[in-house]
Symmetry: C2
Subunit: 185 residues, 2 copies
């Protein structure tokens, strides 16, 4: 019923499969089951749609990753929860992940609205708090963050390309957190 959502979903699907250039707006409208003009009623330009999808995904990820965090969790507990949640999100939302990758390594990155940039501030702050509490190694928080994200990315990619039982996956995920934790402490 919600045509805007239909358009977003159709566009997400087609963009991940055929790329931004490879999918005309007409195909998006067709896939979403709306008319060509309707698409431009909701999104003034194709670029705006491309950015909107990214913003939507980021919002979902942000919610998903932080929903289990308790204020009185220890640093390690918090980090563990963030890590696990992010990894699971990546596994469950392969298409969205691929979209984000494509988006971030395209010239559209420069169109990200400012208010979204601060999203990952919570994690940076957690790292800084961890350093203050002397549980995390004294290095620039951005460096630690960079290491963690890329590790996350690597594990995700491995899990997504190899196929394995859910049990093996769980084991791998937990082990990989311990690996990262050992590295940053």
């Amino acid at each position: 019923m919600d045509k805007q959502k239909d358009i977003l979903n159709a566009a997400l699907k087609l963009f991940t499969e055929f790329g931004f250039h490879g999918t005309p707006t007409s195909k998006i409208a067709q896939e979403a089951g709306v008319a060509n003009g309707t698409l431009f009623h909701y999104f003034k330009t194709k670029d705006e749609l491309i950015v909107a999808i990214y913003v939507e995904i980021k919002k979902q990820l942000g919610f998903c990753v932080s929903k289990d965090i308790q204020p009185d969790d220890s640093i390690k507990e918090t980090a563990h929860k963030y890590y696990i949640a992010a990894l699971h999100w990546g596994i469950d939302n392969e298409m969205e992940l691929r979209y984000v990758q494509q988006f971030l390594s395209s010239p559209y990155v420069s169109m990200i609205p400012k208010e979204l940039v601060e999203q990952s501030l919570a994690i940076i702050n957690m790292i800084k708090e961890g350093i203050k509490q002397k549980v995390i190694k004294v290095t620039p928080a951005e460096y630690t963050m960079s290491i963690i994200s890329s590790h996350l990315y690597g594990v995700n990619q491995y899990i997504n390309t190899q196929q394995m039982s859910t049990a093996k996956q769980k084991q791998l995920i937990n082990e990989s957190f311990e690996l990262v934790w050992k590295m940053i402490t």
Copy 2:
């Protein structure tokens, strides 16, 4: 003098700046200082050009990374050399790295010629040899490989975004290898 190289360089530059979609072949020809038709004399299609650039970069990286390797180096020495060379390549060839990222997260990946896929086999074999010699942890070699590459990527990104003295860079690079080595052994 070599117009084919001129075209490749011009295309690399424009594609990294404006994306595949955002740069028309006419602009590439212009930047390369050749006529429109000349471009299509060397590359049958725009897609072929896009893939050719990737292949060229991969060739350079492959050469750069393996040129210092000696057959009688220890596993750790070999790994260290690979790691350092790859990191330096990424620092010295920011544009090429960005191109590779953009390419790999685009639908053009599926056009990579088969003979190129085996490129990273040498590193996988090194890891397997390391496992046999009991210096590297017993995990699937592809997993270890995935962890190393993504770590490399993360460090690279950090170095490229922050600016720091060359001395600090060197220190960071060496420390980061020890971090990875600790992780995989």
